[in-house]
């Protein structure tokens, strides 16, 4: 499901409302960043949101970036080289950043839990830096990109299986302003 790759908690309220209207089974939201108290507040939002047109995401916003560009790319176990799908996503990110030159980003590097803590901090740094170098090669100024490694401290998927781990070996480009 494509929703996973965005992470439900990053979805804007309008996008969440659209999904609620479109899906029988409500996605499990963590209820934090999505705001508005999660499912309890959903009906009111649904009532006011247009359900027949595309989601009302303002171009040039964090939500626009996450929904229409894709904020993350994935890596193989103990690797930090960019796979073709990762490069495609980063190309879109670079294009977006060229279009909105006042925007800066923080690239987070993350790992799965199948490594030791300190090694994973170093590996997360490598992954964040690989994404950063690619954006720079696509014309994004270095000064607009900060990196931070979280090692295995902030997984996106919570399970302890390959499906979860493959979601967690990632870099996430977070629009900072």
């Amino acid at each position: 499901m494509r929703l996973n790759s965005f992470g439900s908690k990053f979805l804007g309220v309008a996008a969440a409302a659209l999904l609620l209207a479109a899906c029988e089974s409500t996605p499990e939201t963590t209820g934090t960043a999505a705001g508005a108290g999660g499912q309890g507040a959903a009906p009111a939002t649904t009532a006011t949101a247009p359900t027949t047109t595309a989601p009302a995401v303002t171009p040039g916003t964090k939500a626009d970036f996450e929904l229409n560009v894709g904020d993350r790319v994935f890596f193989d176990f103990d690797k930090f080289d960019l796979k073709p799908a990762a490069r495609a996503t980063l190309e879109r990110q670079a294009a977006w950043l060229r279009q909105y030159p006042q925007k800066t980003v923080v690239i987070e590097g993350h790992c799965d839990e199948r490594g030791t803590r300190e090694y994973n901090l170093a590996l997360g740094e490598r992954r964040a830096n690989a994404a950063k170098r690619f954006l720079m090669s696509q014309g994004v100024a270095e000064a607009r990109i900060r990196t931070i490694s979280y090692g295995k401290e902030r997984p996106a998927a919570l399970g302890s299986n390959e499906a979860a781990w493959s979601q967690n070996r990632r870099s996430v480009t977070v629009v900072a302003n």
Binding site: T116, L121, E125, N129, P155
Partner: protein, 453 residues
């Protein structure tokens, strides 16, 4: 010595100054040859049956402390795996019946005690607590050791640990590790928003204290050899950096002014330096910073990941991990960075090397075919020995006597991470006596303190 008939009169007035207002007095040993000896270098040691009598006292308050003191000592010795403290309900001779006289050894032989600990607690006129104990060889009917301690009443647990250390040392010939603390990370909350707090406790889990409030992610704390300082990684202001934490004052300060993330810190054996990794442009190398001069020395410059450095106890060498050979392996170098050489060549990944306080071994985490192992090898990489295996465990830390390792072990949860559990465990160097360390909640990244001063 002329005191064999009345050992109670044999107080030799040798006072030793101890930290935290503790004073210690050696109770002279009768001229005995040791009958009881546990050899820790033999594989499996049969636990020694030992009776620890409740410490005798004349006031109800001291009597209560006397009972609790004996309980802490029993618990310490029991958990060491080397002793089998006998149930006090089986003791025949009452503590008060041994006041100022020799124990009735026959009564202790009946319950099969090989060693006997007899103690006494008194509140002194100046409001302090005076605790004395004697360790007896029940079969030889001889005193093996004895000490008198004086301290403030609220400090009684430390006396119990010091007595435990004295018993351990007399019986095994090695220093104990009971008068020590553990610094670790307390964990709570869902996996993707884990709250982590720097936490300190006595090695038996008592006196637990949170040192940070959980607002910032904190990882990998390590004790200073001087004991009152911890170095650790904090994500304060979203900038992961190595910090120092002063346990007495609560003061925190960042170590050095580095352009990139600093992590994996450890103190040098003399406490004057912190060695750590710094990541820049995606590459992690090892640096040492002198804490007084603030001078920084770069020890590795390799495009690979170089991290998890740990000094040898004499400060001459550093062991670290690197993936310069293709995957995580253990290396050793001189303290100035010269002579870097790989020492681990086994199958799998080797990381988190920690030099033993005795200098002869390096403990590590090994990953092989989906499992994690804690093991030890000699400092040249030979003699690899695996101590424990689990789904996930890592980060060994040595007891100051180099006989016990503590680490953390994680059991996975369901698809949403529910039911996952991460706890501290300890295991003897022999691979025996594997135990969970009881903590109030999830716990990781343990570091053992040196023996308290």
């Amino acid at each position: 010595m002329s005191t064999t008939t009345n050992p109670i009169a044999a107080l030799r007035h040798v006072f030793v100054a101890l930290g935290a207002g503790l004073t210690l007095l050696f109770l002279a040993v009768t001229a005995a040859t040791a009958q009881i000896q546990l050899d820790l270098n033999r594989g499996v040691v049969q636990p020694l049956p030992i009776a620890i009598s409740d410490f005798d006292a004349e006031s109800p308050r001291s009597e209560q402390i006397g009972k609790e003191l004996a309980g802490v000592i029993r618990n310490n010795l029991q958990r060491s795996g080397l002793f089998q403290p006998l149930d006090p309900r089986a003791h025949i001779q009452a503590p008060s019946a041994m006041r100022n006289v020799l124990p009735r050894f026959q009564d202790w032989r009946v319950i099969n005690a090989q060693a006997l600990v007899v103690g006494r607690v008194e509140a002194t006129a100046d409001g302090r607590l005076r605790v004395e104990f004697r360790l007896w060889d029940v079969f030889a009917e001889q005193q093996l050791t004895g000490f008198v301690y004086a301290t403030t009443p609220d400090n009684w647990r430390r006396i119990a640990h010091k007595v435990s250390d004295a018993i351990y040392k007399r019986i095994t010939g090695e220093d104990g590790y009971f008068d020590t603390r553990i610094v670790f990370i307390s964990e709570s909350g869902p996996k993707n928003q884990r709250q982590k707090r720097l936490t300190i406790m006595d090695q038996d889990g008592e006196n637990l204290r949170y040192l940070t409030d959980g607002r910032y992610l904190v990882l990998t704390p390590r004790f200073s050899p001087s004991q009152q300082e911890i170095t650790y990684l904090s994500y304060f202001n979203n900038r992961p950096r190595v910090f120092l934490f002063n346990i007495d004052t609560g003061q925190q300060e960042v170590v050095g002014d580095f352009p990139g993330m600093t992590f994996a810190p450890r103190f040098a054996p003399n406490g004057n330096k912190v060695i750590m990794s710094m990541a820049q442009d995606g590459n992690s190398d090892i640096y040492a910073m002198d804490l007084r001069t603030r001078q920084v020395q770069r020890l590795t410059s390799d495009p690979a990941i170089d991290t998890a450095p740990s000094y040898s106890p004499d400060g001459r060498f550093v062991t670290f991990e690197s993936d310069r050979g293709g995957r995580q392996q253990i290396y050793v170098m001189e303290a100035d960075g010269s002579g870097q050489r790989r020492i681990s060549f086994g199958e799998g990944r080797y990381g988190t090397p920690v030099w033993s306080p005795r200098g002869d071994l390096i403990a590590f985490t090994k990953q092989l075919r989906g499992n994690f192992y804690i093991g030890v090898m000699r400092t040249d990489g030979s003699g690899e020995r695996i101590l424990t295996e689990a789904y996930h465990q890592e980060g060994p830390t040595w007891a100051p006597n180099g006989r016990v390792l503590m680490f953390f072990r994680e059991t996975p949860g369901d698809a949403q991470g529910r039911g996952a559990r991460v706890r501290l465990w300890s295991v003897d160097l022999t691979g025996h006596n594997l135990r969970e360390i009881i903590t109030p909640g999830d716990a990781s990244d343990p570091a053992w303190s040196p023996l308290s001063p």
